[in-house]
Subunit: 663 residues, 2 copies
């Protein structure tokens, strides 16, 4: 009976695989698939741990990173922080055991969530060099630091302590980890210094010092003394909760009543909502959660999905914010001057599988950016830059599924990464980033997330398109102005000579031909005072007097100063409104304000809107959203908007002459 002996034989080979054996043989899954990447991964794991620890203890992070060359292939990676330190008995576990950590079970935004990162680095180090890692840690109440050398016993997934000691450390508290490992040191886009720079930008409260193998030291100074708001732990949101998880929760809950269970163990479930869910599920709110049958549990889960609920609270998340997005983009540009920063888009928080998340997008366009290359996509997850696995990442994929041809970028067949002079920054923050692997380099394509990404990218695309349209309008109208101002006087001269009359005054004629209200702005910057002075002027190049309202929408969180004249409205969300008095034909009217504390490149164009006027007449400002339809009727009877009528075509010289003849 050959088959049986085979079944028996196969059975003998069946055995448990320890988690550390698994990752030792599959170290590429942890991000150690090449010597270059290995070095970066080890640094990343150390830095992310340090930032998380500091933020949890509400300490402004001061992180030192050293990469020392030991040998041909061997490096010593050092990461040292001023965090709260780790109590002695936990040090071996934190660094010498995979799947061990404090953040895995907490539903709030943090960088490390898997309990694999730093112990994975220790394991990779010993695998390639045969040497132990050294950790030093001191808490605020310790007089001396605890120092330990350990390796990870991969058969048992337990720390193996080689030596331990107490040492004097001048630091009040903090942790220092030294990991020897084989690697390869490179520069460029995927280098350690680029990673640290990008990290510093989106974590402006951190000070990061980097000593490279060549001994050069770079310091990324703290740009703010304010810690980001501390993220709070929340219970799961009912939306997207899996049936199995719900049943598990009901088995373990201490609540005796279903309604209490729902109210206590989920966010956004008030006692009223809890009852509503029970009713929808056809269940008594007084039922004991443990007693629910499979069918009842399923009905409950479905009711939880269909009940309308508030979006999750945002205090579990820490978005980057508009200012830092712009700064992040600016950093990538280096000395290149772009034409335009589209106002960044920050979506409201949404939920996938009970986990709140939020999407942010920024686009920078034109200027010195290379026009004939695929656009660059900068990816961030929970304020961590993602440098590898772009092709396998939902953030990149979301960019490549938008039809960018609609928004002014070149894209063959309407999919794939578009070509053009642009950089897109994408940030996803969540209480749990669904990484595609333990290397945390790429986000998996969860449907709820890709939907939000798509909406945010399209919104940002529209903002880019608005800019490009405005630019085209202005360019065309300017061209028309120039032609009219050049041609008309010549025709007038000639005609006057022929009919032997005086040359007529042309201002009114030019105005009539143009038929537009021209809005433009000037921005002056005072380097010393870090002060932008913005002046917006409306020129009336129509034949009649015009009244209009001018609106400016400032980036969130920037307070305008010295507003002139006094605005009729100044809203908290950054919207300023002026009701301009009637501007006579060929006259103009200006408003101005100042912004303080920004770098020059952080403000280079205002979002200007108009209302109370036929927006078809206006060049250089968009109709106030929601205003056009409301108010368009009253302008219907007015003169035809010349600028708009000729938007698509060239200037028609014949018509220009006719206009003159009519006069």
């Amino acid at each position: 009976m050959p088959s049986t002996s085979i079944a028996e034989e196969l059975a003998k080979k069946q055995r448990e695989i320890s988690v550390s054996e698994f990752f030792e043989r599959n170290k590429q899954i942890l991000g150690y698939d090449s010597p270059t990447k290995a070095l970066l991964t080890a640094v990343k794991e150390g830095v992310e741990n340090s930032l998380d620890a500091c933020e949890e203890a509400e300490i402004l992070p001061d992180v030192l990173v050293e990469v020392n060359k030991v040998d041909k292939d061997e490096f010593l990676v050092v990461v040292e922080d001023n965090g709260p330190g780790i109590v002695k008995k936990q040090v071996p576990n934190v660094f010498g055991r995979l799947l061990y950590g404090s953040r895995f079970h907490a539903r709030r935004e943090s960088r490390g969530q898997m309990g694999l990162g730093i112990s994975g680095a220790v394991m990779y180090g010993q695998l390639t060099t045969g040497k132990p890692a050294r950790i030093r840690s001191k808490t605020a109440e310790d007089d001396v630091a605890y120092q330990i050398e350990l390796i990870l016993d991969t058969k048992k997934n337990r720390p193996n302590i080689i030596s331990e000691d107490f040492v004097i450390w001048e630091k009040a508290h903090g942790t220092r980890v030294e990991i020897p490992l084989n690697g390869r040191y490179v520069g460029g886009k995927q280098s350690i210094s680029e990673y640290l720079k990008a990290t510093a930008i989106v974590n402006p409260h951190a000070r990061i010092t980097y000593k490279a193998p060549d001994g050069e030291v770079a310091v990324y100074e703290r740009a703010t003394e304010d810690l980001p708001p501390k993220t709070n732990e929340i219970p799961p949101h009912p939306h997207g909760i899996e049936l199995g998880s719900l049943m598990q929760m009901m088995k373990e809950t201490k609540s005796h009543k279903l309604s209490a269970f729902l109210g206590e163990e989920f966010t956004r479930v008030s006692s009223r909502v809890a009852k509503e869910i029970c009713v929808a599920a056809g269940l008594d709110p007084e039922t004991k959660p443990r007693s629910l049958t499979l069918e009842q549990s399923k009905a409950l889960q479905e009711a939880m999905q269909s009940t309308k609920l508030m979006a999750p609270p945002t205090d579990c998340l820490s978005p980057i914010g508009e200012r830092l997005i712009k700064r992040g983009l600016k950093n990538v540009l280096g000395n290149l001057r772009p034409e335009f920063y589209a106002p960044p888009v920050t979506r409201d928080p949404a939920v996938y599988a009970g986990n709140p998340f939020q999407v942010e997008i920024g686009i920078v366009y034109g200027g010195d950016l290379p026009p004939d290359q695929p656009i660059e996509v900068l990816r961030f997850a929970n304020r961590v830059p993602l440098l590898y696995q772009a092709g396998g990442c939902a953030l990149t994929h979301a960019v490549s599924t938008v039809d960018w041809r609609r928004y002014g970028l070149e894209q063959r067949s309407g999919q794939g990464i578009p070509f053009g002079p642009a950089i897109i920054l994408v940030h996803l923050c969540s209480t749990k980033i669904p990484f595609a692997s333990e290397a945390k380099e790429a986000v998996a394509p969860i449907e709820d997330i890709t939907t939000e990404l798509d909406l945010a990218l399209k919104e940002c695309g529209r903002r880019l398109k608005t800019h490009l349209t405005k630019k085209t309008h202005r360019a065309k109208t300017k061209e028309k102005f120039e032609i009219v101002q050049l041609i008309l006087p010549r025709i007038a001269d000639k005609s006057a000579k022929i009919v032997n009359k005086k040359v007529p005054a042309l201002d009114a004629t030019i105005t009539k031909i143009m038929g537009v209200v021209w809005v433009d702005e000037g921005i002056a910057y005072d380097e010393k005072q870090k002060r932008h002075t913005v002046t917006i002027t409306a020129h009336n190049f129509t034949a009649a007097g015009k009244k209009l309202n001018l609106h400016v929408l400032l980036p969130r969180g920037i307070e305008p100063k010295s507003i002139e004249p006094k605005p009729s409205e100044l809203r908290e969300d950054g919207k300023i409104t002026w009701e301009l008095k009637r501007i006579d034909s060929v006259a103009k009217s200006s408003v101005s304000f100042a912004l303080e504390g920004l770098d020059e490149a952080e403000y280079d164009e205002s979002e200007i809107y108009v209302s109370g006027i036929n927006p078809g007449l206006v060049i250089g400002a968009e109709p106030l959203p929601g205003d056009w339809e409301l108010n368009y009727a009253e302008f219907e009877a007015e003169e035809a908007p010349a600028a708009e009528a000729e938007e698509e075509g060239e200037i028609d010289y014949d018509e220009t002459e006719e206009n003159l003849d009519d006069d």
Copy 2:
């Protein structure tokens, strides 16, 4: 002391994360990131287990796959095989415990290697439906089958048996698994039926029956009764072994001498080589392996890398082979008729980190394939089709880093997936595929592997280019023929009339103008007998008699029949050589042979080479590689090869007339 209390507080949160909790919260890592993919992943895990088990027991696989719709979102996935069965006491562990299996520690090619797949599917099923999986298994010596319902206790990573029983099962032996899970059923490129079809093609020894949710049944019949050669387990190859692994092996070995350790625990290390390594490392071959210091271990590891060694044995691998690669490509084409299958490239086995691997590439080109789209890349790893995560896969990436412009495909800036009427099939087989994540959808970019991929792709690219060049040459020469045969008689007529002489005979003149040896082939196919008859003819369109050798290179493993005339050489690797007797000017000479048992599309163009003639004179065949340089000198003095001289330009009519005048 706020910091201390924080360190203490954080310490309290530190805890172990069970491997099943980890994957329950990170189920996207196992391939369960969307309902659509979840269904496919569960099927894949079942089918791969079945095929592995059958092959291990040397049983021709007969696999039944059912996807039954239970509810709105709920499906029941059934996979049943005729494998050896699983002994009773192992069933709960195999299906109810993560990181448990028989193939993780074995260094030979198999589909499942992680010990996560099928228990992951069970876990996902219970998470989404709250229901247990049901497994039935019977070994050849059992009278009844063992049937069990179980769930996976995710807190403990242990099976939780809901019910067990013995049931009558008419099968002699086999395993059946039924997993209820939430999913979404779709068609298209990433569907279950496409996956099964592609699996059947590269596993022609398997019979796969698929019952879709709509009740439709598809049977992929066995195409061969021969099992693929059984893969053998081998010890690691010394190349790429990590220092840490080597030290671990030396700690655990039973060998008392270093040379014996090397010879016994590594492949391709004879006792001579073992001594050579010891000498290179400056170590005594008699040393006890355990006693080596870190420095000595490092020296040993370095010596193992620098010592020249045989490539690993191939019997641990199971490449798809040229015929099946073509068949795989043909399947994707459906009714589309391509112009050309490039002869597939199979590289010799290489090694990464001690693991042997092998790369195979096939390209199909032209014909009905859409010319204006990115080419399609079909990925396979250990005979398993990879359908997701193409963007994050080293196989795709290797394709996009080749400059395909050199090989006749369109590619903006020489990188990215090229555009053109082509499909590329890439297969990687290895004793250990370095997957980028546990979902086994993408291969990580290991340098040794990407190097081999690059070489193989370029070689296949050259074969494509050869075809395209030959096609262009032929087209140009044909055009020239037609022009010459049209124009010359007219000129002759006219000239004859003018000088009032008889119209001259033109054959010799035409021949002289053409100055080429034209090689073409005709392939006839007899559907009934599955027989290709190939005839290759050499036409001498030069002014002098010509001798040449004709060579045909057949795909590996196909034996030619009825070879006419008797070849001067018939090699095992498929090369046939004929020494053709002198062909007079304007005469021709033919050879022929037959191939049996292939489908029509499996053979559509011969690889034809020539030698013993100035290859510049030959259209329709390439110079025999290695032959050109050897033999070119003897032809140097011959007439200028007209066809080559005019290869780049248009036909020069003036010159044609001059030729006539000269006559």
